[in-house]
Amino acid sequence: MTDTPKSGSIFTQTGLMAKRNASEKRFRFYGLVAVVASLMMLAFILFTIFSAGLSSFRQTTVTFSLELTEAKLDPKGGRDPAKLAKVTTVGYNKLIGTGFAAAIKEHGIEIEGLTDKDAAGFLSDEAAANLRDRVLADPTLIGQTVEINALVMGRIDGFMKGRVTAESAANDSNISAEQLALAKALDDKGLLHLSFNPAFITGTDASDTRPEAAGLGVAILGSAYMMLLVIVLALPVGVAASIYLEEFAPKNKLTDLIEVNISNLAAVPSIVFGILGLAIFINFAGLPQSSSLVGALVLSLMTLPTIIIATRASLKAVPPSIRDAALGVGASKMQTTFHHVLPLAIPGILTGAIIGLARALGETAPLLLIGMVAFVREYPGAPPAGFSDPASALPVQIYQWTQRSDPAFVERASGAIIVLLVFLLVMNTTAILLRRRFERRW
C-alpha cells in the first residue's frame, strides 16, 4: 500500500485492483474448466449410448414370397376363426421354413453344406408368430401367395449391423459359417433389409433366445402409467403438505421435528422405500404384485420429500411483503396463499416436481423389490383397471436386458436407455415450457 499514490490516475491500475482482477479471472477460468469438463463427460456418455443403441431402432428382415397353403392352415375349409386359431406357430414355422428354402432355391443361391436346419434357424421364431397374427387378422389371405418380411435371427441381424463377424461366428455355436454365407448371398440379391423397427418401441419383451423380437412396449406403458399416477398422487399431496407446513402450521417443536424428518426421508436410499412398499402395499394391503399401481405408490412415497422440500423452498422465497400486501387489503390467509403466494412459487414447485419425477422415472431398485422385474409379455390393460395389471418399467427393462447373455441385448439395453433419455427430455421440456408460461403471467 505504501507505494500506491493516494489519488492516482484512473488510467493506471492500483496493485490491489490488479490483484482483485486477477482473482476474478482465475475464478472465471476454474468455472469454465468445470463446465467444459462436464460437457465432455456428457458428450462421451451420449456418444457411447448412441453408438451402441441407435442400431436397435433398426432390424434386419428378409423378404420373400410364400404360399399360404390351405391344406395346412385350414384343412376343412370354411375359415372358422376358432379352427384357424388351432394351428399353432409350430405349423406356421414349418410353412415359413419350406417357403424360405424354396425362395433360396428360386433365387439361385447355392451354399455348400447348408442344411435345412441351418436355413430354418436363419429366421427368427418370431417370424412365424407374426405371420400367424397376420393370417388370423385377415383369413382371406389363406390360399394366396403373399410376400412377407420375416425377422431374421439375432446373430444375422448382428452380422448386418457389423456386430457379428466371421471370426466371432467361428467361436459361436449359435451361428454357422453356412448361415453367414447365406446372409451374404441374400444381401447381395437385395433380399435382406435393415429398416426402421417400430416393434422395438411398441412390442413386448421376448425371451433370452429372441433378442430380435424384444420390444419396450410394456415397459414404456408401465413407466407412463406410473408417472401419471405419481403426478396425480405425489404432486397434490406434496404441494398441499408444503403449503400447510409453510403457511399455516404453527412453528414449534413438532413442526421442526417433521421438517427434520422430511429432509431425512429425502436422503433415504430408494431400496428402503421398496421394502416399505412390499410390506405395506403388497403384504399388508394385498395389492397386486408387479402392478404399476404399487410401483407408483412406492415411487410417490419416494418423490414426496423431494417435492415437499422444493415447494417449501420456493414458498419461502416469495417475499413476505407480498403476504403483507394481501393481508393488508383484507385477504384471508387462504386467499393470500392461493391468489398471491402460490402463483409466485409455481415455477419453483414445477422444478422440484420435475426433479422428483425424473428421479422416479429412472428408479430401479424399489421396483425390483415389489416384483416389477417379472417377465411380462402381456400389455397392461387400459386405465384405470390396467393400473393393477402386471407391467414392467423402462429402467427395470434396461436392467433385465443387461443381465441377459446374448450380446444383442447390449444393443437393446442401450436403445432402451435412449428411449428413457427421450422421456426425460420430454418431461424436462414440458416443465420448462410450463415454467415460462407461469413466469410470463406477471
Partner: protein, 265 residues
C-alpha cells in the same frame, strides 16, 4: 414547499375511532413500544412523527393487527375500534383489516396487472356487482391516488414494472379501493416528487371527510400541512400527543421541541 403555515382547521369534537391503552410491543426480548396511550379521532388526520427506529411503524401495525404475522412480536394492552377490543378472541383479523386499511412503508404492489392490483380488494370483499362498477372503482381510486393519467393506457401492465413513486401511489389506490374506515399510511410520500406529494396530501385531506387517517411521516412540513393531531414517538415512548398546531408551535416536552427544531433547522 417551505410553507410552514400550520393549517388552522377546525378540529370538531370528533368521537374516538381508535383508542389504545397501555400498549406494549416486544420483539422477542427487545421492547419496541412502551406503554402507549393514544386516542385516534374519527374523521381526522393523525400524524406520527419521530426519529427512525422509534416504533412508529410498529405501533401502526398494531392498529390493524399486521403484527400477528410476525411470530416474535407480542402485543399487550388494549386497542379498541369503535369501542370494541380488536385483540379480542372473537375478532377475525381479516375482517378487521378490511375496515382498517394500510399503505406500507416499502411499496409492495402485487406482481399482477395495475388493474388487478386495485381491483383485488373490492373483488374479494364483494363490493361490486359488475365489471363496469369495478372499472369505475379502479379508475376513481387511481385518480385519487394521482396515478390515473400515467397508467390509464397500460392498465394490464404489471404493477411491479412501475417506478418506485408510481408503485407507492398504486399501493395507495389499492388501499382506498376497499373503502376502509381507517387508513394507516406508513410514509406514503417518501418516494414521491413534490407534485405527487401535493396530490397525495390533497387526497388525504379529501379522505378525512369519510375516514380517519393515520400517517407516519419524516417530513415536519407534511405533518403540519395535512394533520390535525400529531403524536411524537421517541425510543418506543409516546412523548407528546396533541393538536398539530400546539405540537409545532408550543411543544410541552423538550424532546419534542428539539426534534422539531432540529429537523426544521
Amino acid at each position: 414547499m417551505n410553507d410552514m403555515r400550520i393549517v388552522e382547521r377546525l378540529v370538531e369534537t370528533q368521537g374516538n375511532k381508535i383508542s389504545a391503552r397501555a400498549v406494549q410491543v416486544h420483539y422477542g426480548t427487545s421492547h419496541a413500544i412502551k406503554d402507549v396511550d393514544v386516542d385516534i379521532l374519527d374523521k381526522t388526520v393523525t400524524a406520527f412523527i419521530g426519529p427512525s427506529g422509534c416504533g412508529k411503524s410498529t405501533f401502526l401495525r398494531c392498529l390493524n393487527r399486521m403484527n400477528d404475522t410476525i411470530a416474535a412480536c407480542k402485543v399487550t394492552g388494549k386497542i379498541t375500534l369503535d369501542g370494541e377490543d380488536i385483540y379480542d378472541a372473537r375478532v377475525d383479523p381479516v375482517q378487521l383489516r378490511a375496515k382498517v386499511g394500510m399503505v406500507f412503508q416499502k411499496p409492495n404492489p402485487f406482481p399482477k396487472s395495475i388493474y388487478d392490483n386495485v381491483a383485488y380488494g373490492p373483488k374479494i370483499h364483494g363490493l361490486t356487482r359488475s365489471k363496469a362498477e369495478l372499472d369505475e372503482i379502479v379508475e376513481s381510486c387511481l385518480r385519487k391516488a394521482a396515478l390515473w393519467n400515467e397508467v390509464k393506457d397500460r392498465l394490464t401492465a404489471p404493477g411491479t414494472g412501475l417506478s418506485g413513486g408510481q408503485q407507492q401511489r398504486l399501493c395507495i389506490a389499492r388501499a382506498i379501493a376497499t373503502s376502509p374506515e381507517v387508513l394507516l399510511m406508513d410514509e406514503p410520500c417518501s418516494a414521491l416528487d413534490p407534485i405527487a406529494t401535493a396530490q397525495v396530501e390533497e387526497l388525504i385531506d379529501e379522505l378525512r371527510d369519510q375516514f380517519s387517517v393515520v400517517i407516519v411521516t419524516h417530513s415536519m412540513q407534511q405533518a403540519a400541512r395535512v394533520s390535525q393531531r400529531t403524536a411524537f414517538f421517541h425510543l418506543g415512548n409516546l412523548v407528546e400527543y396533541g393538536e398539530t398546531g400546539q405540537i409545532f408551535t408550543n411543544p410541552r416536552d423538550p424532546r419534542t421541541e428539539s426534534y422539531i427544531s432540529g429537523r426544521i433547522g
